[in-house]
Subunit: 302 residues, 2 copies
């Protein structure tokens, strides 16, 4: 590593077996940190903090060790986290068959020395205890964004709320935010989140786009009209990664920057859904990102 | 009636008993034609084609006979259509308890002489046979917009498809369009609709806003972040009425006009949800419409 990456990402690295109405693929590299990093690296250099097992193959290491991704913060030991799941025709919710946490279960994030000065960090979806341990090692963070999932809302709600209190930006999906505050109203749930501390509450709605609530304003980003969603795995992580990658590149957080960041995150997520695993986002270039960003502008213009 | 109204609306007039988590109200005036007319009249003079029973009270007639609403096309006889339903905390779908079609069952629309020259018409949600009979009496329509519901998709699909073939604009909700073409993909369903003939396919998504598909473009209108939806009854009708009211006022149909019309329709629907029955839309003024239209712009800007 030559310099501190502009964005540090915490999250899982997984080996996934995925089935959707469009096919079945086993042994795909996945996990929240990986999808987020592949999106964020299109905007700024990123550093990954995560863990893989001794079984992690050379080919998979090669996939991680790409331009703009620093892997010096990845620990090794045990067996790699494994997830198996499927999607039915309504691709909004993954159905889990197997979750083997393996080495992820006892993972204690340890930031490389240079990472501790990071200004922009994305706490991808993982156990809130790991997110908190990560935060505690930061010396002077400017923007902390946090993502989560229903599992942590159900099992470790108090700890998750503590993490959210430390965050500037929370990224959460529609069903999760309703569950977190036991309400049908997204507007009310967003207000509860703002009351916890984050200045920016971002709610992911899959094909329906994304919303942002702040104390003063409301933003609604459109969804992208994909004819076929082949595999939605990792779309939420790509959204968060693209969002924080753009923010790290911008170097500041304002309402206008956040709005553009949300659309860039949506662009990354929309590409990711077009193929299994990393298949599509792997080959996306900056010019693809800009082309679809332009389409998003046209989609919502009136 | 002094002149031919700019927009003619076909649909039902009902007496509704409604229960939501925010209360219970009986004997409310409702029906697709009424909600559509109350929204459309904010943009242009409208004429109603519908039917009520002999039991329709003076107070209810007074509510119909408002500025910018011509009621000379309303037939009288039998007993008024009655609907009873409720909504649970997820306000997206109405649960029907009672549907007494009464006089609506044998209703045969008969257009007043002046209406036959109408250029802009909105076929609100009612039996496709009534929609077809209405179309056949038009001498030179320029824009026919049609709305429908799951009941007609299930029971009279072939007839409904014939009506859609005659329409320029179809307004349909998300669940309905999926059901109509038995697909989870809204994009595919929209393409099937375009193939039937309408140049503009508009899909209502409740709190998630609305989409428009044409052969050449895609538009996504945001939803309005209402903290409380008191009663969603009639929101779809208000959307269609506001949409066609604006188009009739504009006097032409272009991609740009349609986009603005969709946002105006969304504005009407968002107000309507704020109180039971016609409670809110009844008192909405043009300046309220413009104020919220401006908010929609801000919600969407990036």
């Amino acid at each position: 590593m030559n310099e501190v990456p502009q964005l540090i990402i915490l999250g899982s690295i997984a080996v996934d077996d995925i089935e959707t109405p469009f096919g079945k693929k086993d042994g795909l590299i996945g996990g929240s940190a990986v999808y987020a990093a592949y999106s964020a690296r299109l905007f700024a250099p990123v550093g990954l903090v995560s863990i893989v097992g001794d079984d992690f193959s050379k080919d998979k290491w090669k996939l991680l060790n790409r331009k703009n991704i620093d892997i010096s913060g990845i620990q090794v030991g045990g067996k790699t986290f494994h997830w198996q799941g499927y999607y039915e025709h309504d691709m909004n919710a993954a159905q889990t068959i197997v979750t083997d946490l393996n080495c992820l279960e006892s993972f204690e994030p340890e930031l490389p020395e240079g990472y501790r000065k990071a200004k922009f960090v994305f706490l991808g979806n993982t156990h809130p205890a790991q997110q908190m341990k990560f935060i505690e090692q930061l010396e002077a963070p400017e923007i902390i964004a946090v993502d989560t999932m229903n599992l942590w809302i159900k099992n470790t709600r108090d700890l998750l709320v503590q993490v959210i209190r430390r965050a500037n930006i929370i990224v959460i999906n529609e069903a999760e935010v309703r569950e977190l505050f036991n309400t049908a109203s997204i507007v009310k749930a967003a207000q509860e989140l703002l009351a916890l501390g984050p200045g920016y509450v971002i709610i992911k709605k899959g094909e329906h786009g994304a919303l942002m609530f702040t104390e003063k304003s409301h933003f609604s980003a459109p969804g992208y009209p994909l004819e076929t969603v082949k595999d939605p795995t990792g779309c939420g992580d790509c959204f968060g990664g693209g969002l924080m990658g753009y923010i790290a590149k911008a170097g500041e957080v304002t309402d206008a920057v956040l709005r553009r960041a949300i659309v860039y995150g949506s662009v990354c997520a929309s590409y990711n859904a077009e193929d299994f695993g990393l298949g599509r986002i792997l080959n996306i270039k900056k010019k693809d990102i800009e082309a679809r960003y332009k389409e998003f502008r046209e989609i919502r213009s009136f």
